[in-house]
């Protein structure tokens, strides 16, 4: 937890008065910051605080309305993506910019040589291997990228920046996709990098790791710098207060009332899931923790009917489903589903709000002999809009123009109006602002208190531990046993997330 000795080197990067507006929204409001050689600066802020916009300006993807960028003493021409790269700034994006069907070496070389040149791969390969050795990153240059794990891909991204002689590394929420143990390995790599004189901007909203890794911390809120502190001189609570603007209340809820088992999976296997057993009880929020891509999507699809089990048994309220287990069967059995991706699976962008509220129940509720009753659909949509605080122009507005929070509230309303006995909430607050998050959480708790069995799937451990009555951990398609509130520490969950202790836990 001790930050490296601040070697207060020369200033390598200076952002001066950066302002960027999108229509009426001010994404960046006169932001200034400096970065010194060998230093790790954390850029801390809620979603939508303006971190990503700022980095897009630095990288020339957006043009700033005002302000300038200086790298190693030279001003950076605005709006030219290559300029930042050539000046020695490397970025590791949250969503990796790698191509699955290319090899590791191809991914690293991409864009490093003049397009119209012809050079063998030998020199490039040697350089990649040397860098990998130097920074302690194991790689196979000829492996297909698609065959690598998420942690390995991130290493390739870092290697890619180093290969381009980056002296300044920018990491955008690098630990969002990592296990706690993989995160520790990443931090070790970063230490090696700063020891060699590299400078790092570390974008995050996780206080604990900011405290662990950064020398200095700049807090953004609503597009403005609201504070800048040495991490030694502050605490998590202090940072959190700066970030949200008020002291955080304890985010815990009272235990659920409990109830009978509504859904039971017994030794179910499916693509991505290995002999999973799970009980969801009424009046209970069951939290599912795990690193992204370990079978959460498959489990949600399985319960929601989108994925058929290969073996094992599914029971709803003690009965096995009579026909094939399909989305219709699941909806009919009282399973409500809040999908992981609002845009791609939750809604049809060019449909109206009304049409989107009818997507799942158009046959059972809004049609007679195959003819749609649009008046009923519209009335229903109005009820959802009013009942779930959806800010919009009305039921006939196309949903693509809604903000993420309002879209999610509409989906929430669509599901809740069916009074589901079982509710699968897959990443229900991802990408939402603080107010919408609180709203969605309150609704989930209300559904639980009304007797629903809620399965909450999230990659945010604080969310899981704050809301759940029972916690399961998923790793490589296997599910741990359920742990009661307070039975596990975050570190204990982290170990399970990394796949340790499953033989005993299962």
């Amino acid at each position: 937890m001790t930050p490296t000795e601040g070697p207060a080197g020369e200033v390598v990067l200076r952002l001066d008065g950066i302002t960027k507006r999108f229509g009426g929204l001010v994404a960046n409001d006169a932001i200034s910051l400096t970065l010194r050689a060998g230093e790790v600066v954390a850029l801390l802020g809620e979603n939508g605080a303006g971190k990503t916009t700022l980095m897009n300006i630095l990288f020339g993807h957006y043009l700033a309305d005002q302000g300038s960028v200086t790298v190693f003493g030279k001003p950076l021409p605005p709006g030219q993506p290559r300029a930042a790269l050539q000046a020695g700034v490397g970025m590791v994006h949250q969503h990796f910019t790698l191509a699955d069907n290319l090899t590791v070496l191809e991914n690293i070389r991409l864009g490093t040589e003049p397009l119209l040149s012809f050079r063998g791969a030998g020199a490039a390969r040697a350089r990649v291997l040397a860098l990998a050795q130097d920074f302690g990153l194991a790689v196979h240059p000829d492996a297909r990228l698609g065959s690598l794990s998420v942690g390995e891909r991130q290493r390739i991204e870092i290697l890619k920046a180093l290969y381009r002689n980056a002296r300044i590394l920018i990491l955008d929420e690098p630990t969002a996709v990592l296990t706690p143990q993989e995160s520790d390995a990443l931090f070790a790599t970063l230490k090696k990098a700063t020891a060699r004189g590299l400078s790092i901007i570390f974008i995050s909203h996780k206080l604990q790791e900011v405290m662990a890794v950064a020398d200095r911390c700049i807090v953004l809120r609503q597009g403005r710098v609201v504070g800048e502190v040495e991490t030694r001189g502050t605490s998590r609570a202090g940072l959190a207060a700066m970030m949200v603007g008020e002291t955080l209340a304890e985010a815990k809820v009272a235990p659920g009332p409990g109830g009978p088992v509504r859904l039971r999976l017994a030794e179910v296997s499916a693509p991505g899931l290995h002999r999973v057993s799970l009980e969801l009880r009424g009046g209970t929020i069951t939290g599912l923790a795990g690193v992204s891509g370990n079978g959460q999507a498959a489990l949600a699809d399985l319960i929601g009917g989108a994925l058929a089990p290969l073996s094992g048994r599914i029971e709803v309220d003690g009965n096995r489903p009579s026909g094939a287990w399909t989305p219709q069967a699941a909806i009919g059995a009282g399973v409500g589903r809040i999908p992981e991706d609002r845009h791609k699976t939750g809604t049809v962008a060019d449909f109206t709000l009304a049409e989107n509220t009818a997507l799942e129940t158009y046959r059972s509720r809004f049609a007679r002999r195959g003819v749609m009753d649009w008046r009923a659909v519209r009335a229903h949509a109005r009820a959802v809009i009013d009942g779930y605080d959806v800010r919009c122009e009305g039921p006939d507005q196309r949903i693509r123009l809604l903000s993420g929070g309002n879209m999610q509230k509409l989906i929430l309303g669509r599901v809740m109006e069916e009074a589901p006995g079982i509710l699968i909430a897959n990443q229900p607050v991802r990408g939402l602002d603080v107010g919408a998050i609180a709203y969605v959480h309150a609704r989930l708790v209300a559904a639980r208190d009304a007797g629903a069995a809620v399965l909450l799937i999230s990659e945010d451990l604080d969310e899981i531990t704050g809301l759940s009555d029972v916690i399961h951990v998923i790793s490589a398609g296997r599910l741990s046993r359920g742990f009661a509130r307070g039975e596990l520490t975050q570190a204990g969950i982290g170990l399970l997330m990394a796949g340790q202790g499953f033989e005993h836990a299962a």
Binding site: N56, G60, H61, Y62, Q80, P81, R82, A83, L85, Q86, M91, H93, H95, T97, L98, A99, D100, N101, L102, E106, N107, R109, L110, G111, T112, E113, P114, L115, L116, S117, F118, R119
Partner: protein, 315 residues
């Protein structure tokens, strides 16, 4: 069966197969380049027509044969520019634009042909490319006459395949092109322009398709007539799939395909042809293409970003 066997071991049969394959190789390579960069180019059928017309018209108007090939390439590239503009920066439906380009290029060729030659009843001829016997190599039995006694444009087709293969897999440009078809965001993150890469691929690829069309008029038939491309473009799209988006394999399947075509032409002269209606033979290329698509459907490694428009800054 013996009839088929006799056909298969004759040098003239394989010479014909290579000849029939040549335009397909050009056009398939062109389509392959477009698709590798992420653009499905359904303009191919019309671009082959404009290539056939423009190349022929240039030569008929007094240019050299190679000049005609150049004109065909430029004509194809011009329509490629239009296809690229509409589908890449504007991100319009590649299906709709492609079909529109095919109609536009085809009707432009016919319109221009009628304007240039309003009165002709039988299509005028030009002096086409002649066979080049490659010394020594052309004297190898079977292989010699089949491979090394062709027109220069056929040699160019095979040369082109090698060049495309080298560029795609051995140069930074090829790497960037393939990456644009796999994950455009990765390309953009390196400061390269996805738009420029895809535009370049579509323009150059379209030029190659047009040269494929020009082969028909400048090397195979020596005159231009309507309906002469006759679905070859669509077949080339199937060949790209069948060739798993690789130039080497694409050449192989084009030759294989052409061999079947040459075989059906010869079978029509045999006793089989007397019993089976000739339409059945003519159908074979299309049926084969469909079968090829079925066989490859589950296996092929489609470029991940094929038909996905890329809009900068959109996440």
């Amino acid at each position: 069966m013996t009839a088929i066997w006799e056909i298969l071991i004759s040098a003239s049969f394989w010479a014909a197969a290579i000849r029939i394959a040549s335009p397909l190789i050009f056009a398939t390579l062109g389509e392959l380049i477009c698709e590798r960069a992420g653009v499905l180019n359904l303009g191919i059928e019309g671009i082959m027509v404009i290539g056939a017309f423009a190349g022929w018209m240039a030569v008929y108007g007094g240019m050299s044969l190679w000049g005609g090939v150049g004109v065909a390439f430029l004509a194809g590239a011009a329509f490629g520019l239009l296809q690229g503009l509409l589908t890449v920066p504007f991100g319009l439906s590649q299906h709709v634009v492609g079909l529109g380009i095919t109609l536009l290029a085809t009707s432009t060729s016919y319109y221009a042909y009628r304007l240039a030659l309003p009165e002709v009843t039988s299509p005028p001829k030009i002096e086409p490319f002649q066979n080049w016997e490659i010394p020594f190599l052309s004297e190898i039995p079977l292989l010699g006459p089949a491979l090394f006694s062709q027109t220069p444009l056929t040699y160019a087709a095979f040369g082109c395949a090698i060049a495309v293969s080298v560029v795609l897999w051995r140069t930074p440009l090829g790497l960037a092109l393939r990456a644009a078809g796999e994950n455009p965001a990765a390309v953009e993150a390196q400061g390269l322009s996805v738009t420029a890469l895809r535009m370049g691929a579509v323009i150059f690829g379209s030029g190659l398709m047009a040269v494929g069309g020009a082969f028909l008029t400048l090397s195979a038939f020596s005159s231009f007539f309507f309906e002469m491309v006759n679905g070859r473009g669509w077949i080339c799209i199937a060949l790209v799939v069948f060739g798993a988006w690789r130039p080497g394999k694409a050449v192989l399947v084009a030759v294989l395909f052409a061999a079947f075509d040459a075989l059906q032409i010869r079978l029509q002269q045999t006793p089989v042809g007397a019993v089976v209606p000739y339409q059945v033979f003519l159908m074979l290329p299309y049926v084969l293409s469909i079968l090829a698509l079925i066989v490859m459907a589950r296996r092929a490694e489609v470029p991940a970003a094929l038909m996905v428009p890329y809009n900068k800054g959109e996440r």
